[in-house]
Structure formats: C-alpha cells, structure tokens
C-alpha cells in the first residue's frame, strides 16, 4: 500500500480508530491489531511474500529465545550465524542471485570457458533489505547481551512488521522500537499533531518535489544520448531532489504515522543537502542505515581502533557494502566507492568530525565560507548520484563525459520555471526549519493560528495543484 494512495487514506483512519477506541484497554490486543494491519498493508502488494516476513520473524524469535537459555559460546555463535545465514540468505537469493550468476558467467567467458546456466525470473519482495536488517539487529543485540530477548511473540511480530516503516525504513534498532511494544501507549495531543505535520511535509516532498523531478529526471536519463552536458547536469540535479524528496518524504510519513500511534522512530534524514562536508552529509543522510553499518559492521571490523590503514580499509568496506545494499548493480558499488573517496581526505586529516551541528544555527544566512562548503559538498553529491541513477556503468560514464564536454555551456532543455519555483519554496522551508526534527515542527513555536493555518493551506494547495497524483510512481527505495 502506498502512503500517497486512497487505500492508505482509508486504511489509516480505520486502524487509528480501532487502535485507540477499541483495543486501547488491552496491550496484547493492540499489538495484535498492529500485526494484522501491518500484514494487510504489506499484503496489498503481494500477499505471497508475507510468508517470508513470517518465516524471518519465527526464526529470529526462536533464536532469541534459544540465546537467552544458552551460555555456551560455541552454541551461541551457531545460533547467531543461523540467523545471519537465514536472513542474508533470503536477501542474497532475492536480490543478488542473478547479479552474481551474470558476473560469474561473464568472468568464466572472459577466461575462455562456457557456461549455459540461465538467470531466474526473481521478483524482489518489497522492503526485504529493510526488515532483514531490522530483525538482524535484534539477534545481534541479544547475542551481544545488549538486549533482553523477548518472550512476547506478538510484540516481536509487531516490531518486525510495524507497517509505517516496514517497507522503506527507518531501519529501527530492536533496542529502540521493541520495548515500545511492551508498554501501554498513551495518546499525546502535541505528539499526534506534530506527527500529522510531519506526514503533511512528507507528502509534499514525495508528491510535489520527488514526483515532479522524477518526470524530468527520467526523461533526461532515459534519453541521455540526445542531450547536451548542461541538460544532463539538470537531469542529475532533478534526480538529486527526486531521491531526497522521495526517500526522506517516505521517512517523514513513516515517523509521523508512528507518532499518531504513540511510537517514536529514529530520525532518518537531517537536512543532508545543507552539509558542509561529505562526512556531515553521511551523518545526515539515511541515518538509520549509516548507523546500522557503523554498529554492526564498522565497529566489529575494528572501527577506528587499529591505526590509519585499518580506518581507511574499514571506511571503504562500509561505503562499498552500503552501495551494494542499494542494489545488485556495479553502479551502486561505484557510487559507494566514490563516496569513500570523497570521505578519504577528511579521514586522513582527521577532519571528519568537524561539522557536528547544523549549519548557521540560530542565523538566517550561512557565512560565505559555509555557503561555499555547502555548494562544493552538494556538487560532489550530485555527481555521485549520476552513478546511482544510471542504468549501468557505461551509461554513467557516457553522461559524465558529456557533462565534462564543451556542451556544458549550451542552453539546457527542461528549464522549467514551475519546478524551480517549487524547489526554492521547498528549500526555503527546509532552511528555516533546519534546527528542528522536521521543518514544520517550527510551527510549535508560532503563536499565530492564522499563520499556521495559512501555511497548512498553502502546502495542501500546492500538493493538490502541482503534485503528481500518479500512484504508478513508486517510492524509489521500495526497489532496494
């Protein structure tokens, strides 16, 4: 079920009413309602893949219980690896089987051999990368004794399948989300209102910014051979806003929806395009994934403990794995590698933790130095997105070759004033609200009801008149 669909507009109030008015007296019943609603939400796409989520839930719940009773280190390791193999096995099969097979065939042919095995027609279950990482966090935390294993199967099932963040995150840590299912939720007016504001902003980002930019980005990237370097730069720029609006919009709706039900999810985006260096960008972009890799891969690999070479090696591993997590294509690997290269100078010079706070905090305008830093970081990011969006590596290099050719000075096509006006409006609101959890949170401190309602109406008006109400435009991250 898509957040920007009529289905969800019916689903959400119905679940909300059942949740607060009919099951509120019984925690177990309320959690069960979340499970049923979440399975319905997921099954709307393809009910067959519900069996995967259920199986993954059963495996990790059982392993959690077994780990709680077992003190023998070897046996504990076997349990942990069973969970890792089952979860990553599913992910590997559905997401990477054809990729590895094709590359194996190519390598085999390169060395003169012949292989006739064909690819399988595999449908990627929506959200598999997200819920797999979420359940893994539970098993690893229980194994490391950072988290008490649960004996409440319903609460655990609700944690794995919690519908707002099931298919595209934020990837929640068991230590944050699971305990919230053990306690009776209390309805808080201010939290619910702020949740609704965040949903509104998420819808704006998705329907107005992402989907409008998607139309132009698709047109330019799909016919890249026909356009000049300047138009391709515009295409990359549109994609830059498309992916941000799309993914952070989804996260906003997920977090806002959770707040309506009394849950607090982790923040996933913190105005990444206002970053002053690439290290700051990665502290602000897809935070739930970056911190997941930090906690479950970077630190176990030794993190920054083993000297400079170890730090560099681990950083490259994290970025490449993160790239590969996004999809079975070399373009994602190169995208990760490119970000690692961007990161390298900061790491070597120990400047990777320079900008821990948001830019121009408490001021309306950034300093000139910060402005230049933001512009450089943004440009590097735009360039890297070319790899992320391109069909394959050759396609990405052909686009870059055209961008760095004399045609860069030609007048670009698709210079749509309407889109630029919308982007300026969007960036302005994000800039003004950058010190908050989400930009519209600033309205909490605004006393004038007239001003608040005018802004709500303006956003709704823009969504209605300038939004792309086209449900065929899926959220990009569903494919990951």
């Amino acid at each position: 079920m898509l957040f920007n669909s009529i289905d969800f507009a019916i689903f959400l109030p119905v679940v909300f009413i059942l949740y607060w008015f009919f099951t509120n007296h019984n925690l177990k019943l309320q959690n069960l309602l979340i499970v049923v609603a979440s399975y319905l939400f997921y099954g709307w796409w393809d009910w067959r893949f519900l069996s995967l989520i259920l199986f993954s839930t059963l495996v990790d719940y059982t392993i959690g219980v077994l780990l709680s009773k077992e003190e023998n280190v070897t046996k504990r390791k076997i349990f942990l690896w069973t969970s890792i193999i089952v979860n990553l096995g599913f992910l590997g099969f559905f997401k990477y089987y054809n990729f590895f097979l094709d590359n194996f065939k190519t390598a085999f042919t390169f060395f003169g051999g012949e292989i006739s095995s064909g690819s399988l027609h595999i449908i990627l279950p929506v959200g598999i990368s997200f819920y797999t990482f979420q359940t893994l966090s539970y098993t690893i935390d229980v194994y490391n004794k950072k988290l008490e294993p649960t004996n409440d199967f319903i609460a655990f099932t609700a944690f794995v399948s919690f519908f707002p963040q099931l298919v595209a995150g934020p990837i929640e840590r068991a230590s944050n989300l699971l305990p919230q299912f053990y306690i009776k939720r209390k309805f808080e007016y201010s939290r619910a209102v702020d949740g609704l504001r965040q949903i509104l902003w998420g819808l704006f980002k998705k329907i107005v910014i992402a989907d409008n930019c998607a139309e132009l980005a698709n047109q330019i990237f799909n016919n890249s051979g026909e356009y000049s370097g300047s138009t391709l730069v515009l295409g990359a720029l549109f994609f830059t806003f498309q992916i941000y609006g799309d993914f952070s919009g989804y996260s906003d709706i997920a977090i806002g929806t959770s707040r309506l039900f009394g849950f607090d999810l982790m923040r996933n985006f913190a105005f990444p395009y206002f970053s002053r260096d690439i290290a700051e960008f990665w502290r602000r972009w897809h935070i739930s994934l970056s911190t997941w890799f930090r906690d479950y891969l970077y630190i176990p690999l030794g993190g920054s403990q083993g000297g400079m070479w170890m730090k560099i090696r681990n950083t490259f591993i994290i970025f490449i794995v993160s790239g590969f997590w996004h999809g079975a294509n070399w373009t994602f690997v190169i995208w990760g590698l490119l970000n690692a290269i961007y990161f390298l100078p900061l790491l070597i010079t120990n400047n990777n933790r320079n900008n821990l706070h948001i830019v121009a905090e408490g001021k309306f305008l950034p300093s000139f130095k910060d402005f230049i830093k933001i512009s450089v970081t943004f440009s590097l990011t735009v360039l890297a997105w070319v790899f992320f969006r391109a069909e394959n590596v050759t396609h990405a290099f052909s686009i870059l070759a055209e961008i760095f050719s004399p045609s860069i000075v030609e007048s670009p096509k698709f210079f749509d004033l309407k889109i630029f006006a919308l982007l300026i409006f969007f960036l302005l609101i994000e800039w003004v609200g950058k010190s908050y959890h989400h930009p519209l949170h600033i309205l909490d401190s605004v006393k004038s009801r007239l001003l608040k309602h005018t802004l709500y109406l303006l956003i709704l008006f823009v969504i209605y008149f300038y939004g792309k109400n086209d449900v065929t435009l899926d959220f990009i991250y569903f494919q990951f």
């Binding site: 009529i6 507009a9 607060w20 309805f187 007016y189 619910a192 209605y464 109400n469």
Partner: protein
C-alpha cells in the same frame, strides 16, 4: 484525545466542503455532459473530441453520438459494455484515427468519468477498485488526478471569457498556410510525442472487437475528416498502419480524412470540425453507413 478528534472532525468537514465546492463548480458539469445521451438508439457513434462537433445532429438519422472529449479505447470499452447491458445496440461507429493509438492517449483520457458506466461488480477490476473509482474518485475530486487540470481549464476559460470553438472557427480558415502548418505541427508533436504505439490501447481496442463480436454488435470504423494541411504533415509523423490492423479483423473502414480538403471553413482547427462541418458530416456519415460496403474510401482523388 477529545481535542484531537474535534480538530480532525473539523478538518474532515472542511475537506468535504472543499470537495463539494470543486465538484459542483467544476466537475459536475463535465459529468452531466458525459451522461447526456439517448438510450433508445441502435447505432452509436463513439469517438474522442473529433465526434464532439457532430453534437446531436446524427440523432435525426438514428445515430446516437456517444463521443466525449478525450475518450480513449479504455473508455469506449467501458461504454460499449454499458450499452450492451442497457440498450438495444446493434452497431457501433468507432473512430480509428492514428493518434487514438498513440501513447499520449494513455494519459489523456476520461477514465475518471467513464467509470460512471462501469458496474461496481464488473469483471474488469475488483469490486473494491471499482468502488474506489466510481464513488471516491468521482465524488471526492481532490483524489482525482484530473480535477486540477479541469479546474485550471475552466478558470482559464472563465478569464478569457470566450469559447475556444468559435474563436478557432474564425481563425483556422483565415490563417495563412504557414500559420496552419505551425499549428498542425504543434498538434502533431503532442499527439505523436512518442513514436511508439500504446500496447495498452491496442489491447483495449482488441477487447472492443471481441466484446462486439460476442454480442453480435457490428463495428464500423471511421476516420474523421481532417484539414489538408494537417493531413500533409501527418504523413511525416504517422507510423502505425491502422488499416492493416482492421483489415485483419475484417472490420469495415470508412475513410473520411480527405472529404473536406478544399473546405477549411468546416474546421475549427487543424483536425476538428466546427459546427457547420459537424452538421455536414452528420449527413455524410449517415449516407455512408447506409451504403457501407466492406471498405469504402472517400478519397477526393
């Protein structure tokens, strides 16, 4: 909670009010047009905007004009199913201009309106899907992706305070040849932006034929009259051989494209007849249908 519910109820009241305003000010009119037709006929003309100029003139000859603005083959399929259930339809006259198969018709269509003719329990989609389209999208225009466009057009019309048809009637005939070429090309660029034909529309067209055959409804395909200038430029854009498509299915084709080549006063724009042309063409259409044989060509030459 009470405060929250109070505000939510207020928001929903506001939401319903906004929908009602949009519905009655802008959408209702287009729906009324769409439903306004004679259910007692046996021959029905189904086309897109090309059929609009004929208004109700064909009624005098026993042909019911059931065309509407941007009807696509998806809409026509729905309407045919409806006519089979609700009327004594014996024959359909259907437009087969090439642009009807172009990809742009996939997006520019009337699926939000033709849902009126779809039963909630139709075989084409689930009851829930049909309910959603037939009632929620229909009566809550905020959920209808076409409604902002309808509002913009209506407001534009209100502001410009003139009917497009009459303005163009005067214009097309008085345009210079190069102005005509410019307008023709600009229209063709929209119609044939993509060189590919829509597989979806070809599939729906095939379904129309199969439904008609199953219910013993005769199909006559017609190509509407177009201006000479448009025809000349069409040759540069056209790619699909629709004649071939129809001959394979043994459907009668009547080609009227060239009948008014020397009479630009019959056109409101490059490829649409005006009121006078619509009246003239209604007579010609009636004569031709009565005399129709396997394939008739009304070429001037």
């Amino acid at each position: 909670m009470r405060k929250f519910i109070k505000k939510i109820v207020l928001f929903f009241a506001f939401f319903i009010l906004i929908n009602a305003i949009i519905y009655f000010l802008f959408i209702n009119d287009t729906h009324n047009d769409y439903n306004d037709f004679n259910k007692n006929g046996s021959v029905y003309l189904m086309a897109d905007s090309h059929g609009e100029a004929l208004k109700k003139y064909p009624d005098d000859f026993g042909i019911v004009n059931f065309s509407y603005e941007s009807d696509s083959y998806f809409d026509i399929e729905r309407k045919l199913n409806f006519l089979i259930k609700e009327t004594n339809i014996k024959k359909i006259v259907i437009s087969i201009d090439n642009h009807c198969f172009s990809n742009y018709r996939e997006n520019i269509n009337n699926i939000d309106k033709s849902i009126y003719f779809e039963s909630v329990c139709s075989d084409n989609a689930s009851a829930y899907e049909n309910f959603k389209n037939k009632y929620i999208r229909y009566y809550f225009p905020v959920f209808n992706s076409n409604s902002p466009t309808i509002i913009k057009i209506d407001i534009f019309k209100m502001l410009s305070n003139r009917k497009q048809g009459s303005a163009n009637l005067k214009n097309w005939n008085s345009l210079t040849e190069s102005e005509k070429t410019k307008q023709s090309i600009s229209r063709l660029e929209v119609q044939f932006e993509s060189k590919k034909n829509s597989q979806k529309l070809l599939d729906h067209f095939a379904k129309i034929i199969s439904i008609a055959n199953k219910n013993k409804v005769e199909i006559i395909a017609i190509k509407f009259p177009i201006s000479k200038n448009y025809y000349k430029n069409l040759m540069k854009f056209d790619s699909l051989n629709v004649d071939h498509l129809l001959k394979d299915k043994k459907i009668k084709i009547i080609d009227f494209q060239k009948v008014y080549f020397d009479n630009d006063t019959f056109f409101s724009d490059a490829d649409h007849l005006n009121d006078i042309g619509g009246l003239e063409f209604s007579k010609l259409l009636n004569d031709s249908i009565n005399k129709s044989k396997n394939s008739i060509n009304h070429d001037k030459n």
